[in-house]
Symmetry: C2
């Protein structure tokens, strides 16, 4: 038997075959399901849905009522994948001579906190419908939550303390973790659309903060550190931005501070990255002006996506930035960027499946990133449904 | 501009951020789509469908007619992701001083061959409906195709030549690659069900054979070699089999030659692995008796899957084994096993989405592998629909 405790606590497991870790959250099956069951996307949504647990004033799963919020609203996920308080885990094999178990059945405990953040009180909106100035409060809230979770020893903490945002509105008490609960990494991500497992169309993202550094940012950190070491301290993504600006063919959009490209190595058909043009380590490094330009970049991506197939384009997106807690070098090596992974390939109903060959052998894509970029460049006009609404 | 040739040939691209490669097949968008469009699964299928391009005697996309086959039928995919003949690719940056390009826009050509293999002439069957003795011809065909593609220098080639199978029926001419086309790796995989991107319910798998070693088997090879080097030549998976047989709690089924477990590190809710109990490097190492036991293990997995939620259970599955071409050590380090990645989580209609957090941060699962194994152990009875048909 593995420690019975693993039935009840979130933890990671190591795959010695792949050399990788994964997160296990046994208590999580209790969460409700409001999502699509492999059907077509919802079309005409009301501005307010009395049954939606994200709309203002409505009750949530655990009984709390949402406030009558006007811009964004953040709360601790009622069905979090990780928790702040749980028993500690000590592998049994450490105190035994059970050698193979310690090699092949490795685990470690994971603590953390999960938030849900609504983008708007309006149930029927998406980021594509919201002009940059309406997206700005979302970026400000992301920045405040990130700042509130930084380790005091993180060089970014000092910058955060001086930020113009911090004075304006203190983050709600519940968002500030107790000092004993210093966490390692914060992942901000959005699942949009039934095809990407979104269980509620009300515009929102999630923020999962863990005591461990997850696989993807960890893998990126290794590669970015290696690049810097081998190339005289230059940042991989800064070099990449420079190169893509010279080449031009994978650029979807750019403004003074951000470049949007279909990366050379895109896996998803219309995958894009928003990359800071200067070396920015995390949200707190962005100036007020840069935050606005970031909002604009997000608006340009999401509107083009919707215009491409004249549909509410599904995707998963997320921000990679400096860890909350880490060495000065780790923080300095970080380079702020945002990924968008959208599944649609040919139309509003035909998606790319990353399945058999992709899972067993290697990701496979059908159109080139250059072709994808050209198509996205061409759909920069007004949101297709603007005059239909 | 990247070399224009990359619009037309299959190639790999390197992601310097993740340190990983992916396959690009620009010409592949021309293939037809018969799959589900995010709807519910098909239920009552006919034994013969005059519109199915996999049924006996029917015409295929390129005009050929299928033979009136009785067991399995193999043909070269009419819309292959890789091709045997294409122009060679030389990165432009090699002959220029364009330094960043050679670092950040890396590519290499990939040649190869893709086959489709039907499991049965009957349109309405699945592996779950087929007893082990009907699955055996599939395993024999896999073995013959694998054997026919082995490099003459591969130590397995000699074993293959002596195999009881080789005498019985020579593989069709089209399956034997010209000697100049020695390929590196063969990936056998099945996508079953609309949820896993399967575009035709007629029971079949695919076989993609490439000039390069894909990411997943390459990553496994590195880990397995490391383990052997550090543990006195013992095989990682042989130690794992031993350990799981001692523990018992993740075992779904076993027979004399194969162990079926929900691995400790499973990502998909009901993920399982079929692992050879003795060190087997590839299909050609299996004796006639072992092939039958392998067929039985596949039958036990697929029947239990269908019984679990009383539905035709979707999954992607595939075999990992020795490369077709590789060093003696690489071949010797290989350890035959089969993965099953099924998406269903709670019922026939509610699946696990590996999306936002999983793509951006780390795979996350909800039930433990031990719970999944216990449930699969308990559904070993007759196929639920056996007496309903
Ligand atoms: O080859 P098929 O069946 O048309 O396509 C299916 O399997 C392929 C290999 O896993 C995937 O790349 C496709 O996205 C999927 O739809
Ligand atoms: O948290 P939600 O929205 O219920 O769940 C969604 O996002 C999670 C994080 O990517 C996934 O693990 C779930 O499979 C998905 O359905």
């Amino acid at each position: 038997m593995p420690d019975k405790i693993l039935d009840d606590i979130s933890h990671r497991r190591y795959n010695p075959l792949r050399g990788s870790w994964l997160l296990v959250s046994p208590h999580r099956t209790k969460r409700p399901w409001q999502g699509q069951q492999e059907g077509p996307g919802v079309n005409k949504l009301p501005e307010y849905d009395p049954k939606c647990y994200l709309c203002p004033r409505n009750p949530r799963a655990q009984g709390d009522n949402n406030p009558d919020y006007k811009e964004t609203f953040v709360f601790v996920n009622d069905y979090s994948a990780v928790k702040e308080v749980q028993q500690d885990y000590k592998p049994e094999s450490e105190d035994s001579s059970d050698d193979l178990s310690s090699l092949l059945l490795r685990a470690e405990g994971v603590k953390g906190k999960c938030f849900v953040l609504t983008f708007s009180p309006k149930h029927h909106l998406t980021l594509a419908d919201m002009p940059a100035k309406e997206t700005l409060p979302i970026i400000e809230t992301w920045t405040r939550i990130y700042a509130a979770h930084l380790a005091p020893t993180n060089p970014l903490a000092e910058i955060a303390a001086k930020s113009d945002l911090m004075g304006r509105e203190a983050p709600p008490e519940s968002l500030v973790p107790a000092p004993t609960q210093q966490l390692r990494y914060m992942q901000i991500f959005e699942n949009k659309g039934a095809a990407m497992g979104c269980s509620n169309p009300h515009p929102h993202c999630q923020i999962w903060t863990t005591s461990t550094l997850p696989e993807e940012p960890a893998a990126e950190a290794v590669q970015m550190a290696k690049y810097r070491a081998e190339h005289g301290g230059r940042h991989l993504l800064q070099d990449y931005v420079k190169l893509e600006m010279e080449k031009g063919e994978r650029i979807v959009y750019q403004n003074a501070f951000f470049l949007v490209v279909c990366p050379w190595w895109a896996v998803w058909p219309f995958e894009v990255m928003i990359i800071a043009k200067r070396h920015v380590r995390a949200l707190v490094d962005l100036t007020e002006q840069e935050r606005f330009y970031f909002a604009e970049a997000i608006q340009e991506v999401t509107r083009r996506y919707d215009n491409l197939f004249e549909t509410s384009f599904p995707y998963s997106s997320g921000i990679h930035q400096a860890p909350l807690d880490g060495t000065d070098e780790e923080v300095e090596n970080s380079y702020f960027h945002m990924h968008f992974y959208p599944p649609l390939l040919r139309s509003a109903t035909v998606r790319k499946f990353l399945v058999g060959y992709e899972l067993l052998a290697e990701p496979q894509r059908d159109i080139t990133p250059e072709q994808a970029a050209a198509r996205l460049r061409d759909c920069g006009g007004e949101l297709y449904r603007k005059n239909l609404q």
